[in-house]
Every structure is written in structure tokens, then in C-alpha cells.
Amino acid sequence: MFFANLGIGQFLALFGAVSALSVVLYLLDRSRRRVVVSTLRFWVAAEQPTAVVRRKHIQQPFSLLLQLLSMLLLLLAIAQLRLGTEGGQPRRHVLILETSAWMNARAGRQTLMDRARDRARAYVRALPSGDMVMLVRADALATPATAFEASHRKVENAIADSQPSSTSLNLEQALAFARNVQSANGQRGEVVFVGSGRVAAGESATTDVPKNLRVLPVADTVENAGIRKIGLKRSTTDPDVWDIYVSVKNFGLRQRDVGLAVAVANMPAGSQRLSLPAGAEREASFTYRTRAAGILQARLFPGDAFPDDDRASVQLPALQTLQVTVYTNEPDLLRPFLDANPQVTAVFRPVSQYASNDKGLVVLDRFRPPMRPEGDAIWIDPPPALPPVPIRARVTNPESIRWTSDNSLGAGLRARDVRLESASVFTTAPGDIKVAEVDAGPIIVARPGAKKTVVLGFHPALSGMRYELATPLLFANILHWIAPDTFRAKEISAQSIGTVNIALDTQISPEKVHVSREDGSPVPFTLQGRSLHFFSGAPGTARVTVGDHESVYSLSLPELGETRWQPPGGTRYGLPTFRENAASSHDLWQIFAILGGAGLLLEWLLYGRFTRIMGKARNLLKWPISLRKAS
């Protein structure tokens, strides 16, 4: 006979305190009270003998005994008094069930997950009935599915509800969690791992494992080759062409020859045959020309026992273009600068056809329109009357141009000793960006705001800059500044769910990095030097913006461990055989609780307020009867 919840000292202390409190309350309840009443005539009529001078302190000893006995029984129920030897004290086991993506692989007619569930259920059924089990689902995160549960049926239900996720197993974290939970409860028990144990390469030699670890391995002889990653970006030479890279890995132990087919919008875009030695990873590249949006699909054939990574798809965005309307009477001067960029659609119109409501960017060549453009505009050598930026002076043969390189508009502009015949010098306002200056002042000014405006104080094609490389570069910078979203470099990749690691080109401050989901909600990330890390536990799209560079990650492939975890020596394997010591230990708390409650109820009925309530009810019933009799 022993207590499951309390020590004998704790029990005695608790019972002593409760008993003392009961006795004090009892004595207080039955102590003599002084009451001022209206008259004594009815009290005397009650014919109750007057109290003796020497008071008896305990007037209703059975009431007190019944109270104390009931309290004792309730405390025994709380302390969980068990009949049997203490060896039968219930243990608390932590059952780690692997739910990584790999558990969805098929082995015969079953998946690895089915096998793992069977093993977990067999373990639970092998436990003594009093043992408690906590089920922890382990993938990239360790998630407890139940608390320490004495009902094995509930644990089995939780096992049945466990499904493979899309991430790989982080066994180290799961074992640490189990150890912490078990040490916090201070009870005996085992940490049991059920799964294939396929982990990342760095985790294969995890040695910091609990001493009471038991492993129920799930046989894993699945041969699998799968797509690891798809990378896409527009060709640097031809923006209409997508460069497509597909990485394929053989996770199995035998060489595989597989076919890789790529299609865009269900139209074949290419196929290759790959020979994959065991454990090798190969990359295949394709090109595909399209300006339109569509879905790119990559498929491995023939399929294998783990189909989740045999197929991947990624959304291709359409090529964005900037519409430019040029009002000039000499279109040939500006045409080379604008037609050189395939993302620019330029329309040339004579100044007489000017309309202020043109969409996109408007270029005004030495022309002051009656109404200013409603959108963004580039003014080239505007007339002195009512220019967009006040003209301070007109200078002839100014000294060589100086470019300001502290902003994106002047990036890469190195032309020196360029001779200009004449140029307008502008008076800038606060916030204006000076792109180029001569000694007399700025000659190219950019004005940010809702409507972006760039004003050139000279015509590049009618000056010494006409044959300089700086001229198309200047136009490219201006277009990029006016429409950054259109010209932002984009990279698209499809890769596995879980932790995403990105190597950045340069070290950058966290303020310039934005990671967001498809719906725009931010994703927490860490930045360590040039490495950016974030985690996604579910399929979806993540968008990483670093400066003017944007990467879109389609996280749809399952994350797979590369190696198998090797448990350290001394680890127990297989189903245990517990001594049936718990069978000799019977839990009696329900009986004690019922008896204690019944005792308190009996005391209340016999000695408590119940009798007063019944007395009042009887009196209330008698009163109208007596009145009727009197009348």
C-alpha cells in the first residue's frame, strides 16, 4: 500500500491541518452564542432544558467523527492510495513518433508511417495499464500530441491521427524536449523513438541522447530519387528567355537512371535522361522562351516509392514592361536609347499630338506642354518658360560634368571630359536629387514623389555625350529609378519546406531585407553575416527582397534527411517486457472519493443545515393551516 501522489509526511501534514481546521470550525459552530430576542415566552414554551453550567465541548461527537473520517477518505483519494507494492508505481514514458516527410514513403502495401503507427501502438499496448504516456510528433519541430495520459486509448487515438508532414526530422530537438519533460515530472519511464531516423547530415552522430532511450526502428529500404530544387531566372542576354535549372538527387543505395521532363503551361519545354549513382546529385538545365505567365512543371520518370518529390511546379511571372510615350519632333535622336531595353515599349509622337493623360512614362523633348503630364515624366532641355524645375541660368561650354554616385541614378556613370555646348542650370528644391553638375550648378535633377520627374538641362543626343556609354546607362538608371518594380531582378526557385538558407552577395543590414508570405504577411528571419535563414513548416510561397533584388521561393518539395541516424551504444531496441508488478497495484481513489463524499452528505443530512431547512419548510407549511383552523 503506498501513495501515488503524496509522500506519507505530506499526507500526515495535510490531514493534520485539515483535521485541526475541522475541529476549530466545529467548536466555533457549536460554541454558546448570545442572542438578543424580542421575548422569552416562546423559548420557554419550547420546553427545552436550560444548558448545564459546565459545558460539554463536544456535543455531537458523531458529527465531528463523521466529518474527520470523510476528510480522511477524501485526502486518501487525492493522495491516490494504491493497494499493492510501490514497485507498481506508474511510469511516465515519452513516445516520440517520427512524422517527417520521409514517413510518407511506401514500403510494400504500407507507408513507413503505417509501420511506425503499428510499432507505437504495440509499445503502448505492452505497457502496464497504470503507466502514463506522452505522445510527441517529431518532424522539424517536436510537437506534443498529448499530455502524460493514463488512458492508453487516448494515446492510441493520437497515434492514429498522426500524419507525415513536409519537413525532415530534427531528432536532437525531439530528444531534448523529451528529456526536459521527463525530468520536470521527476518520474521513472522511458523515452521511446519510433521512426526511420532519417536526419540531416550533421545529425547522424547525435550522441546527447537520454540514458533511458529505447528505439523502435521502422525498416527503411526504400529506393528514391527526387527533385531537390528548381531554379529559374531570366537570361542576362535575352529577357524573354528563362534559364531553368533542376537539381535531382538519388537518395537510394543503387544507381538510378531517370528521365526528367519540364513543361510550361502543359507545353513540353524539354527533357533529359540522368544517370544518378547512389547518393549523387545532378543538375539539368533548360531554356524556355516566353514573356507570358505560366506554371512550370518538372517531373521525374519512372516514379518510385516516394512520389512526393518526383514532381514539382513553380509559378512563372509574366515579363513586365514599361510603356513610354515620347513627344518629340525628332524621334530618331531618342529611339536608340529606349529601343535598346526589351522591357520598354516606346511610342513616339509629334508634340502637336500631346495629351496629358498618357499612361506610363512621358518623355518631353525640348517641349513645354500646355498641361503637365499626369504621370511620371522626363523633361529633356525644357524651354525657359515655366520649366518643371526653375532654371537659374543657361551656361555655354561648361566645365566637364560631375556625376553624383551616392544615389542609384548616378550609379556607374563615369564619363569625364565631356564637352557640352550649352546647358540649363537648375535651382533645386529640398529633396531634389542632383544627378549631374557643372561648376554653375546642377544640370540633371530628379524630383521624387508621387509623380517622379527627371529634368535634363541639355539634350544628350545633341551634345558631346551622344557617343558616350554614359548616355544609355543614364537612361537605364532613370527608367529603373522611375519604375523599380518593373526592372527589379527576379529569381524564382522551388525547394523543400523547412529551413531555407540563402547566401547573400553582400553583407546587408536587416532593415533592407524583407521576407514575406504570399499574402504579404512578414516571415521572421535571421541574418548572420551573408547568410539569411527563415523557416516555413507548411507548403507556400516566400518572397525575399534584398535591395533591388527579389527572390521568390516556392516551398512545395518535401524536406528529406540525407543520412540515417545511428543510435549510440547501450540504446535499447524493440518492444519491452514489463514486469506485471503494476497488476498487483490497484487504484482505489474512486472508492475513497465516493465514500468521503457520502460521509459529508450523511453528516449534512443528520447534523447540518439540511435539518434546519427541512424544519423551516415544515413550519411554512404549518402556518397557513393553523390560520385556517383559527378562522
Binding site: V36, V37, S38, T39, E47, A51, K622, L627, K629, A630
Partner: protein
């Protein structure tokens, strides 16, 4: 600190449609069953009051209605009236416990006074315990009610109840018979209150006995060893009180109430037993009306 008035305005307005009733005819006095204040033309006009459902439309002041858009009833004086006397118990037993019994008695007495004032009855209030205290006479309409309220608010409990002495004093000083309302707990340890009340009836008064009690008076909530102190006599008794004793106590109390009731009925009077837990409005418009004490 300003205390709340005994009766609020809404309750007083409801009381305006009531009348105090009595059954006996007294020599030389008009009234009697007094079913209505309005005995016809030729009587002297006294006052107006609010019109209530059931009033005689012939007595409505239609001129006032045309001007004020409100219906007022004309009232006329009939003299001399049957005097209404009210004996209100101010002994210490009325203040036993939380004092709710005495407060209730004052509220009930004030309500009956207001009913009488509205009907232009002549009312005399006599507080009593060992002797009859300084009384208050009132009459002449509802606008005389404010001094009555102040009088009731100023009453305090003092002394022991001695019905025999009080009745003797009452009969010797007041010769005119009439309606006599007694508001008391009738707990008199000094003498037999039943006999004294019988004297009053025999003298020719129509007695209207209103017995007040608190729940503690009827069903004491205590159990165990009790040291009881009589609030009036300060006598101490130590007893052991249990459920059986409580039942005997309540039976004894009920028997006493029944004896008071029988005394009233035997002498063509009225009796009402009131527990202070019952709302005053329920007592006035329910129990008192059913007993035909007011209508």
C-alpha cells in the same frame, strides 16, 4: 446625512384611491361603512384629488380638465367624522434584531395615515410601550402629511410593553369610541395582552389588530447552545436549541398569533399578521384589502 423618506412619492400616489373601512356605527357620528366620500350635492367642497379608474365621473371637475388636460375629482366634507385612532408599539421588542420590525411598523402606520388624510378622516396617533407617549393628531387633507412623516421619523423605541397599563390609560383619557388600529408585535411579558385588548373591544372600539413579526421572531435560525437575552426585560436564559425545540417554538408562536386573531374576530374586529419580509405594497394592497380594513 440625509436619510430616505419612509414612503416614496409613487407609493403615496397609489394610496390615494384607498379608504379606511370600519363596520360599527357609533352614536352621533357619521360614516360607518363609508363606501364613498361623495354623498351628493349640498355638501361643502373641500379639495381636489387625482382621478383614478373606477371613480364617479359625475364628480370630475370638467373645467379643470378643459384647462389642464388632467382629470381631478371634487371632494366634499361630511362632519363630524368617526375618529380613527392608531396605537403604534414603540417598545424595545420592536427594535430587536436588525430593527426592521419598527421601521416596517412606522411605514405601515404612515401609509394608513396618508389614506386617512386623503379622505379627510381625523386620525390620532398614539405611540405606546409602558405608557402612552406623546401623540399626534392629523387631518385636513394630504397636504398635512409632511408633519406626520416627520413625526414617524422621529419616533424611537424605548421601554417595556405593558398592554394592561396602556389600555387602562387609553380608556380613562379618551372617551369617544371609534376605529382603533393597533400596530404591534403583541409581545408583552409583563401582562396578558389578550385581556387588555378585550377591554378595548368591550369599551366599544372597533379594533383592527396588525401583528408584526420578523422571521427570527417566528423561526429562530440559531442552533446549539444559546444565551438568550430578552430585549425588554434584560433577563438571561441559557438553553440548548435544536430542531425539535425550534418546531415547538414556532408552534407556540403560531398559537399565540391565532389567539390574537380569534380575539379580533370574536369582537367584530379585524386582524392582519405581517412578516417584515413581505413587501409593504403587497400588504397594503393585498392583505389589508382582503381583510376589508381598507378598500
Amino acid at each position: 446625512m440625509e436619510t430616505a423618506p419612509l414612503l416614496d412619492r409613487n407609493f403615496l400616489e397609489k394610496l390615494e384611491r384607498l379608504t379606511i373601512h370600519w363596520q360599527k356605527s357609533f352614536a352621533g357620528l357619521v360614516g360607518g361603512h363609508n363606501p364613498s366620500r361623495f354623498s351628493g350635492g349640498g355638501q361643502e367642497f373641500l379639495d381636489h384629488r387625482q382621478f383614478h379608474h373606477g371613480d364617479d365621473l359625475r364628480a370630475v371637475n370638467w373645467r379643470a380638465y378643459m384647462r389642464l388636460d388632467k382629470m381631478f375629482l371634487k371632494m366634499f366634507q361630511i362632519e363630524p367624522r368617526v375618529p380613527i385612532r392608531m396605537l403604534i408599539d414603540t417598545s424595545v421588542s420592536m427594535a430587536a434584531g436588525d430593527g426592521s420590525k419598527f421601521l416596517y411598523a412606522r411605514k405601515l402606520a404612515a401609509a394608513l395615515c396618508y389614506v386617512g388624510l386623503v379622505r379627510h378622516d381625523a386620525i390620532a396617533i398614539h405611540p405606546f410601550s409602558t405608557h402612552i407617549g406623546e401623540g399626534k393628531r392629523c387631518g385636513g387633507g394630504r397636504h398635512r402629511f409632511s408633519p406626520v412623516m416627520e413625526y414617524f421619523e422621529g419616533l424611537a423605541c424605548t421601554g417595556k410593553t405593558d398592554f394592561t397599563a396602556v389600555v387602562r390609560e387609553f380608556i380613562s383619557t379618551i372617551a369617544q369610541r371609534g376605529l382603533l388600529i393597533v400596530i404591534s408585535d403583541f409581545l408583552d411579558d409583563t401582562s396578558q395582552c389578550e385581556r387588555a385588548l378585550q377591554y378595548l373591544a368591550d369599551f366599544g372600539h372597533e379594533v383592527f389588530l396588525i401583528q408584526l413579526w420578523t422571521e427570527e421572531d417566528r423561526v429562530p435560525p440559531w442552533t446549539g447552545e444559546l444565551e438568550l437575552e430578552d430585549g425588554e426585560t434584560k433577563r438571561l436564559v441559557k438553553i440548548q436549541f435544536d430542531e425539535e425545540a425550534r418546531e415547538r417554538y414556532t408552534a407556540s408562536f403560531d398559537a399565540f398569533s391565532t389567539s390574537i386573531q380569534q380575539l379580533a374576530l370574536r369582537n367584530d374586529g379585524k386582524y392582519v399578521g405581517v412578516s417584515t419580509t413581505q413587501p409593504l405594497e403587497d400588504i397594503v394592497f393585498g392583505t389589508l384589502v382582503r381583510s376589508r380594513g381598507i378598500a
